[in-house]
Subunit: 333 residues, 4 copies
């Protein structure tokens, strides 16, 4: 079927490519004319304005917006909606905050325009590997788009089937889910990313302890000098902790055992934050997901003001002078 | 080659079975004569005393001890060592604290007895799937036991190879590693389990937030009623967070969506604790691994004394009366 | 000067009493006629409707709303504002979310009505001890209300003066602060409560470790049977950790060493949650304040769903059966 | 009575001064002859060798060792014990690990020498303010030393009495406690310090959130520019969170609002670590005390290896490039 795509970055562009390769047609628009031309060369129909984009879509239209979450997505959807008609559907496939979906869905519904939110996972691997999609929206609308989702999804592949799922929704095993009403898709994607942060931090801390097992702060007969690349690799095989994230870690460590090309500053996108907010709203303790988020915050600061407050108190009650240089793993006696 | 096995529980028994099935010979001993008889039926040579066990082993002997970590392993190794000769090797394949390995290794070395520590991962799946082994000890001794390790390991299987590992130790891709001197094996296994706790808790918190998204404490248009079994399954396919632990979660949720057969009390073995101790000794922040451990501690208490202290303070400064019944996700205004 | 008070609960009632005792006049209103009558007996002028309340106030009016944060405060302020005139001031002294202050302040400003937010600390002790007040609003309006704040504040008392503050705002040493524009008062009060949670949890965990030092899971020569009431008391004197919260703890433990009258379920009000949300919005790591909040969430559940997920995984990979009864401080070997 | 003191640093020296000022006699020894001379000038009797020190003490001798915890305390006590006789008492007033006390106490007991462990709080303020002492040892021995403890303790002062303590051990209100058998003193002091870390971190995080409330990552109408010195001061007066640590913070902020003279590297002594270890041994969740410890570890590193692992994974699955410069409070869309 036909899909319109606004936003031809890494994700949007590859989604279109995967659709076109598999027999769908696509109309594409991006502020960057070069990006439009690139996709046109790959078989999509380009549009140079939003108006032209809408005009080229068959009714009822289906337009997927794939832009950075926030202001730009908001204004684009507003502009798009003004050009669309009742019965058309706008799909937000970005990393939008689910409460924005709920709000937008209500506003669009008043004008008869459908809204579907799709949490899309796949990153740079999606073009070939397919995209895991978590979808929110009305059933009829989501069903109408099923050919698109079915093509974008990774498919069952050779991943072993989970026993006991024989009579369940077959889309799940293809790698996409209609998770609930508007907002549900991005909510599930949000939790996916929250878990992702936690998993990453768990591995990261484990490797950090292995790395520091050679510190001279330890007694000589309690030190080890581990090969982290080998340890990451061996855990991929027969242990309890294999995962795709471990595969990536093993690859990275094989390539660069000290990872010295990384600055140590770690970005976070909104999902990790919203996951903690959701936990708080529900009164669910979420220590690990929160600690993983805070570790990223901390990574992006030379020092926190909190640390200076600590030092000021220590000077106050004990006359302690803090070191000017980092480290010292040993406690100060 | 020949291996002696002391301790024929689930792990020890299946290790022997996997060896015998693959052409090795085994001498086995357990306090429980029935366990010995069972393994004898599966092709091992039984022994009814420790003395008989040692006598049946060819020199230089190789005896694997597979008992619960702690006192029983300690006394068994002491008794075994008294019966062994210089050049023999004792393998501790249990979940021993690595500092106990270091101590024991030194003591045994004085009598010419070798010691190898093996962190063995595989659980109930190991017989068929193979065991991921993390090994500490002297190189010559570990090399001598290589036929055993090679058979117990899962082998390369169809797990994709990690690029850039072509010139590296080929044992790693078979699923076992000589990680370093005595103690290194259990150290790496300890970290493996520490990470395991963190990964598990990350998934658990994520599913908890999904589960509680239907709580009436939330505004009506911010509630969702998710199918957790389907979400677990879809994440196995094309997302960033597939793992073996997620496979198991998907299976469990497909079988029992509310998991109501579980009490909610969660045990911990020593490795999670020692991991945090190691982090502290090295001055490595390990928030996630620690939070995962503490969540298990908390799960095993009706209430903590800490909570009563909080309530006592609240009554003191605000005259607050705490509820007699659990829950209330909403904050008290 | 004259102040109107809406909401005659413990806080509102005592604020009026403290004002009247010190020569101010007060007009009071509450849905509960008995509460109005009670305050009238204490020297305030009662009103039986909101209209009467407004009518009895001298212009420019000053009306303090002291109600539970949320819906009831919102609707009361709306109703009150409709009856008031340009130049009047509405004071929200409750535990309102500071972003609601910002929104409300803007809306009221359009109608010429002033808004002041006051974070009020003091609890059941405030009547005699005075109230620590954190105030947000326009300078001229806050200054106009200074006689009220000056009377409600605890005053300098015999608390030692902080060196280096000689030339600073003298109100601070009286126990009240004009912290900034609208919202600033409740923001500072929010952080005060966030810190309060963290302090409380720190003491609580410390006493919990002391309490459990007698557990049989420890080796016999590593057990202690401490007198917690005596320890709380001794720390009040010459240690680094004296505080008012410790005073309250000492009193509670002297009265009831096992604190067995407390259920262990611990409520949270909104401020702890908003503090964490603020930390997240600012990308400030706030591990301790968050952990303190989550400990309260956890205290109000028999078990979390997360714990069942953990058990399901453990059963999946290791065949582990979890206990049906709580505790067991020892790790499972 | 007479006391011997080994170790004339800030703590040991001032303890002697406080004793001598109050009519006790003291024999002092330190490796640093100048320190000995200094105390001699203040009225103590100096000794230039350990042997001379012991010889000058009246039997049964009482010798207080006040040295940095660890090796130097261990070897000094061993050397001292060789010179002492049955019935003498060695007091370790430093920050010794309580399990070392238990071990030492047993060894000394075999030779009839008594051992008392004293956790001593007071820092640079102790000379004038007195020392809060937490004492472990046999009752008879602790009672014998009571004149010393009574003089060193702060005394009741003008700290309000806790109701309900009228019939309890009067020493507690003087600021010292016989907490239990050998090791109990340092155990209680350890928890004191563990709590201290938690309290400090709670305040520190709160001030950090206040500080960052002006960040441009926030919407303009949600920003505040707070005066932290004033806020610290106002909380000392009538709030729920006054404490001595807050007094010190208020002083520090009044003196240096940005605390720019502090590097941000924060030391930890052993007690915070041992507190967490104790929590783990007892299976007590201690999130806050642990998070406070880890925040100090993190403060002493430019970056953790964990952070590089995170970045390597992010590059692996998403092609993300991390920033080379710190900060950015906003999430990356």
């Amino acid at each position: 079927m036909q899909l319109g795509m606004i936003g031809l970055g890494r994700m949007g562009g590859n989604i279109v490519r995967r659709l076109v390769r598999n027999g769908h047609s696509a109309v594409v628009y991006d502020k960057d004319a070069k990006a439009v031309a690139g996709l046109a060369a790959d078989g999509a129909q380009g549009a140079s304005t939003l108006e032209e984009f809408v005009a080229k879509l068959d009714k009822p239209r289906a337009a997927w917006v794939m832009l950075p979450a926030g202001r730009i997505t908001e204004t684009t959807i507003e502009a798009l909606a003004k050009l669309m008609d009742a019965g058309d559907v706008i799909i937000d496939g970005g990393n939008t905050f689910w409460q924005d979906d709920v709000r937008r869905g209500k506003a669009l519904k008043e004008r008869g325009i459908h809204y579907v939110d799709v949490g899309t996972s796949g990153g740079v691997w999606g073009l070939d590997r397919g995209y895991c999609m978590m979808i929110g929206g009305d059933k009829a609308v989501v069903d109408r788009l099923d050919p698109i989702f079915g093509t974008l999804a990774p498919g069952a592949g050779d991943i072993p089937r989970t026993p006991g799922r024989e009579d369940r929704d077959p889309r799940i095993e293809q790698g996409y889910i209609h998770a609930g009403p508007i907002g549900a898709g991005h909510f599930v994607k949000m939790i996916h990313n929250g878990i992702e942060y936690g998993l990453m931090q768990a591995y990261a801390e484990g490797f950090d302890i292995l790395k520091n097992a050679s510190t001279e702060a330890l007694p000589a007969d309690h030190r080890f000098d581990f090969d982290l690349a080998d340890i990451a690799e061996v855990w991929r095989r027969g242990s309890v902790i294999p995962s795709w994230l471990l595969d990536l870690t093993s690859t990275a460590l094989a390539d660069s055992p000290a990872l010295s090309e990384y600055s140590g500053f770690v970005e976070d996108s909104g999902e990790g934050r919203w996951t903690v907010n959701a936990a708080i709203d529900e009164a669910v303790p979420a220590e690990v997901l929160t600690a993983a988020l805070f570790a990223r915050f901390r990574s992006r600061k030379e020092h926190t003001f909190a640390e200076k407050i600590l030092s000021a108190m220590r000077a106050g009650f004990g006359g302690h002078k803090e070191p000017k240089q980092p480290d010292a793993s040993k406690p100060k006696a």
